[in-house]
Amino acid sequence: MKKFISLVMCLSLVLTLVACGQNQTSSASAEPAAESEAPQASGESFELALVTDLGTIDDKSFNQGAWEGLVKYAQQNGKTYKYYQPQEAGTNAYFETIELAIEGGAKLVVCPGYLFEEPVYLAQQSYPDIHFVLLDGEPHNADYSDYVTGTNTMPILYQEDQAGFLAGYAAVKDGNTKLGFMGGMAVPAVIRFGLGYVQGIDVAAKELGVDCEVVYNYTGQFAATPEAQSMAASWYNAGTQVVFGCGGAVGNSVMSAAEGKNQQEGSFVAKVIGVDVDQYSESDTVITSAMKMLANSVYDAISWYYDGTFKGGQTTVFNVQNDGVGAAMDHAKFDTFTKADYDEVYNRLKNGEWDLMNNTDNADPSTALTLSNTKVTYIQ
């Protein structure tokens, strides 16, 4: 018996190894597809670099959006470019990866995500000749006591409240009155999305003369959990028509719940609003997305660097004024809300018709906002 079992174990070990071997060869053939965008020659240096945030370059979110902008500029202007993926999360690992990019010849490093605030704070001092573009954050030290933006650093912030506003406005104008918001952690970017979303709902409700209800929750993490899925399912079950899944993989839980509800009902009753990038490809339930135009802003930042007009030392805000945020219309699944309607509200927002509240001190919109036609149910 013993002999037989040890034989089985040996076999399973060997088979695992064989399987691994096969995987490696298959990945080797798949690799060029992923990396082919970057010039392959060894010993060459890469002028433009991107260090990825948590997740990979094809995360359909921050990394991918920023990378697309970088690739677009580099290909148009014949620059060399490459991305680097940190081995683990954390300031040290990110800082080391930035150093790796600089050793690889990078003159400008794009750092997508607020997790780079500290690494860039350190790197901008250690490498004054290198330029940094920091998306969605401002450099600061570990305990937030010191905010310094070096002249070689360009932090970019987005007015998420405007993107949320457009998405919420469009959803209500399209005939929905029961809506939901499921955020990740209550970090400033997520709070701004949420506040803008509720304000957009209220404005549209006022214009249509209807009353809207919003269920509102921060799940506390940027992960797809059964809990988030179950909560979203309970909202859809209670009649909620559209849920804004705002927080990385939280959106996947919302989409899963929406797919379940639609399949159960046999009609398109549960809809999802995506976030950051156009998430239409993730699920058929996504009707639009509240977007940050990551590619545009990275493209602009890099072109300013080469023009000699790099806006270092100060924070640049991207909003509707410079087409830095918006709602996705290319693959939108609205019934009645058209591109013309969208352009109209976009221009009104641009012209300053609404002064949006985007102070993130209070994350609860039911107390932070004064609303006329909207009732917000805030779930702790």
């Binding site: 013993k2 079992i5 174990m9 691994c20 992923a34 929750n217 399912a233 989409m255 779930i379």
Partner: protein
């Protein structure tokens, strides 16, 4: 009523993986081997079977695909649990340590292999397995709405496993011998039972069921597998203890845990509960507080298998 049905349906999603995995743990502990590697085995089972779903989506779908995935999850669980069996039974190692080792190994392995194969650690799958309603059975009043609508085939497999496990444990020669090895392996040995063989059987059964539990956990609740089962393996251990190592109590414990989970997520949609204004943390805490209380009050007369966790030494009489 509609709300109650919905709540039960949600409860089942949380409860079935806990039930299946805890029953697996029961077989292992009843044979005398502590298995805290349930978490790691769930991860491995979910990993290989979701990978299979990912590879075959497009030309396979529906419940046939799911059934094959179930077999794959169980086989993976068995193979993975054999490491634990060798350490615990042949090498007489500390069972907590080898279990911990497997728990740490599994997610790292899953991420590593997933990245080699597809470059991304999240493995996507299409959920084509939802059963909107079971013909005929869904027409039964009350029960039809609760159990036979908006469900998964795995729900019924879970209950089937419960019934089979109860029969095997209490009504068969094998079950009697398994329980004997967990209570007094020396006596069992003297009666001519191969303790090693029984313990291997216990661990293998736990591996198969925990591997299946991992798949059952991931499929209804997400659109991808990200090398984690969110601590449900450890929760299953709690269910096992709360259920006093007996199938019928394990069922109740799993239902209790599942129901509180479902309640903590959907209480906001239930008007009278929302007006009570109790924070969701309270609902989330209840099962754990209850587990501690049960342990306090039952520890004197705990029905834990007496030899569970002690490496078998035939010379010790």
């Amino acid at each position: 009523m509609q709300l109650l049905y919905f709540l039960i349906q949600q409860t089942l999603l949380f409860m079935i993986p806990l039930l299946i995995t805890a029953l697996g743990g029961m077989f292992s502990e009843r044979s005398g081997v502590v298995n805290i590697a349930l978490e790691g085995i769930m991860v491995m089972g979910a990993f290989t079977s979701i990978l299979f779903l990912n590879f075959t989506q497009g030309f396979m779908s529906g419940n046939l695909q799911l059934l094959i995935a179930i077999v794959i999850a169980m086989v993976t669980g068995i193979v993975f649990s054999l490491f634990h069996a060798i350490a615990a039974v042949n090498l007489k190692a500390d069972q907590t340590i080898s279990g911990t080792a497997l728990n740490m190994f599994a997610p790292a392995f899953a991420i590593f292999i997933a990245r080699i194969i597809q470059g991304v650690q999240q493995i996507n799958f299409n959920n084509t397995f939802r059963i909107v309603e079971v013909p005929i059975l869904s027409k039964i009043p009350v029960i039809g709405d609760m159990l036979f609508k908006n469900s998964y085939i795995t729900t019924y497999i879970g209950f089937l496993i419960l019934i089979i496990a109860t029969i095997v444990l209490y009504k068969t020669k094998f079950g009697l011998r398994l329980r004997a090895c967990g209570e007094n392996p020396q006596a069992a040995n003297a009666a001519g039972i191969s303790v090693e063989k029984m313990q291997y059987a216990g661990v293998i059964l736990s591996g198969a069921l925990a591997g299946l539990g991992g798949l059952v956990f991931v499929v209804p609740t997400s659109t991808n597998f990200n090398a984690t089962v969110s601590g449900y393996g450890f929760l299953a251990v709690a269910v096992l203890i709360f259920g006093q190592w007996k199938p019928k109590y394990i069922l109740l414990a799993a239902f209790f845990f599942g129901f509180m989970k479902a309640l903590s997520n959907s209480y906001a949609s239930i008007p009278f509960l929302f007006e009570l204004n109790i924070q969701s943390y309270i609902y989330k805490m209840v099962p754990y507080v209850a587990t501690i209380l049960v342990l306090i009050f039952t520890s004197k007369h705990s029905s834990a298998p007496k030899a569970s966790g002690i490496p078998f030494d035939p010379m010790q009489r």
